[in-house]
């Protein structure tokens, strides 16, 4: 680097630049928080949904699946599973979902296996509610198609 460019100039760029961008990031975060109520489907965040989220976490579903494209890439996306399987009908979705969870594992030789989590009816309904709520969050039209 040129002689003219001194260490203290480099240090000032570091201190000034990082301070500026930290503050900008905090400002943008504040702005995003203002925008979120319109986007994050919080009006449908019921007690059942909250419990569903806890079950989602305590069974580490994200260890195989993605949710909005984040998580593991071993099993299908579930952020839009409500859309994929419900045909717009809650009853149909809950019915499908319970049958699915209770049928696990498939034990098809060589096929990727999903564990049996031994959840009761209420718990399965909570999880289904959570997935429906997730499907309602505004994700800027992601994923590109229903397969996730």
């Amino acid at each position: 680097m040129a002689e003219r460019f001194t260490k203290s100039m480099a240090r000032n760029i570091y201190l000034g630049g990082s301070t500026f961008f930290i503050l900008l990031f905090l400002g943008l975060t504040f702005d995003t928080m203002q925008a979120m109520p319109e986007r994050d489907n919080r009006e449908n965040l019921t007690e059942s949904v909250a419990n569903g989220k806890l079950l989602w976490e305590e069974n580490n579903c994200l260890g195989c699946h993605t949710l909005f494209g984040e998580g593991a890439y071993f099993a299908p996306e579930l952020g839009n599973v409500y859309q994929r399987r419900s045909m717009g009908n809650d009853e149909a979705f809950i019915g499908y979902f319970k049958a699915w969870m209770n049928a696990m594992p498939t034990n098809v030789p060589g096929r990727r296996q999903m564990p049996q989590f031994n959840l009761n009816d209420q718990e399965l309904e909570d999880l289904a509610a959570f997935l429906k709520y997730a499907n309602g969050i505004n994700t800027n039209d992601w994923p590109p198609n229903v397969e996730g």
Binding site: A10, E57, A72, Q113, W142, P143, N145
Partner: protein, 462 residues
């Protein structure tokens, strides 16, 4: 070794490498489960093995960073470590907490682990990379506080070099952002937003400070280049890292709820994130070519140069590949993400930890000029085996990812293949990845073996 207490780094390095071996064993297990779906099922389901793989990675890197700090902070500060005893106590606490957590993952179902560790009181579990029980997280915070105190007191007592200040800033940032792992609201979109404050602001923020400081330290030692020059580079590299990386967090906010303006902010700033990595490469090669001495530890120099190059490839090139919002729309959460995650973590953080181990370990073992020529030859073999294997892992996953996007993402609903059908179609690449993984594992065992190779002591050329 200039100061006796620097040897506190030793147990940290040894334990880190042991965990690294564990990480790769579980990597091979999940890699195989990708193609032999019922392998080890139901004893070790994929999600459990994956969690062991990724959490061991994070934890051994943390051990590596701590070891690096215990070694280089006293040397830079020109004083003994504040408390060697504290360093040892914290080592055992952290090692015990880590081991118990892994045993917990493997011994009982995850839901049971959540139950017995009282996750209901303060739910923080079940989120990627942060799967450890809440009490383990609290343990990590306690260890981190003790560690920062120890390192901070050492720094305050001695010479305050730029390397020490930057390293300390990075470590403080690491601890600070980890606190966001305790924030887990019911609101999924907010949970995800702040989850990235841990993960992104670590690897594309404060960890780059840690990496830069360690790299600068080793380069001063092996090249003998003037400290003023190196410190100037260090400042400008970390300046670019933070200027681009903080707003660059936006490349994770495209599809998880936040407003659309992040598409612009995230794309533009993260597209600049390769700059600091590129500068690190130029920096490393520049310093080595301007070297004022031929350091006999050639292996350490090789790791330092390799680290800079691979970090640029993995983080810079593979990161850029999918960081623009219109591209990320299709690649988000595919095998392309996994390809990038592997090469970036390996190139930047695995290799920087091995660089400092490669430099410091021989000195701590009473070989100030590095290991014997024979041992270094074995070590350099392991460098090439692991690095080339990782290149192939990345290439095969990238190929799998491109096909996945093509079959599953690009066509319209109705035409697109389902996730599971797509996976069947790209199984060949997963087999190839697994074979590369076996080579990686052989490289790792070769690396471990290099510690046990005897040979003639190295004399200094000068």
């Amino acid at each position: 070794m200039k100061f006796q207490s620097q040897s506190a780094a030793m147990p940290y390095f040894i334990f880190a490498l042991a965990l690294f071996v564990g990480q790769i064993v579980f990597g091979l297990i999940i890699g195989l489960q990708y193609v032999v779906g019922d392998f080890l099922f139901p004893e070790i389901p994929f999600n459990v093995a994956r969690m062991v793989h990724t959490n061991l990675l994070i934890v051994w890197l943390l051990f590596g960073f701590m070891g690096a700090a215990y070694y280089l902070v006293p040397e830079e500060a020109e004083t003994e470590l504040y408390s060697t005893k504290l360093a040892w106590v914290l080592f055992w606490v952290f090692a015990a907490a880590g081991t118990l957590t892994i045993i917990g993952y493997l011994a009982v179902p995850y839901a049971t682990l959540a139950d017995i560790t009282g996750n209901g009181l303060l739910p923080t579990m079940g989120r990627e990379f942060l799967e450890m029980p809440t009490i383990t997280k609290v343990g990590i915070v306690v260890v981190a506080l003790g560690f920062l105190f120890n390192i901070g007191m050492t720094m305050l007592r001695g010479r305050k070099t730029v390397i020490n200040i930057v390293l300390m800033t990075g470590l403080l940032g690491l601890a600070l952002f980890f606190l966001f792992s305790f924030y887990n609201p019911h609101n999924l979109a907010l949970d995800k937003f702040f989850w990235w404050w841990v993960v992104h602001l670590w690897v594309e923020g404060v960890w780059e400070l840690i990496m830069g400081a360690i790299l600068a330290f080793v380069l001063i030692k092996v090249t003998g280049v003037d400290r003023e020059v190196i410190e100037k580079w260090l400042y400008i590299i970390i300046a670019m890292a933070l200027i681009t990386g903080i707003i660059g967090t936006g490349h994770h906010f495209f599809w998880i709820g936040p407003p659309e303006y992040w598409h612009y902010l995230g794309s533009i700033f993260s597209a600049l994130e390769p700059i600091p990595f590129f500068m690190m490469t130029v920096f490393a090669f520049n310093m080595v070519s301007r070297r004022r001495r031929e350091h006999p530890n050639r292996a350490a120099t090789l790791w330092a140069l390799g680290c800079a190059v691979m970090a640029f490839l993995g983080a810079g090139v593979w990161g850029f590949l999918h960081t623009l919002a219109p591209v990320n729309y299709y690649t988000h959460g595919t095998q392309i993400t996994a390809a990038h995650g592997h090469m970036a973590f390996y190139g930047a953080y695995v290799m920087i930890v091995i660089t400092i181990i490669s430099y410091a370990m021989p000195i701590m073992r009473g070989r100030p000029n590095g290991n014997s020529r024979q041992a270094q030859t074995v070590e350099m073999w392991s460098f090439w085996l692991m690095t080339i294997a990782m290149v192939f892992i990345t290439l095969f996953l990238t190929a799998a990812g491109i096909l996945q996007v093509w079959m599953q993402r690009v066509p319209e609903s109705g035409q697109a293949l389902s996730f599971m059908a797509t996976q069947d179609n790209i199984a060949l690449f997963y087999w190839l990845r697994e074979i590369s993984g076996v080579i990686f594992f052989i490289g790792l065992l070769t690396y471990i073996a290099s510690f046990f190779v005897k040979g003639d002591a190295v004399e200094v050329a000068e």
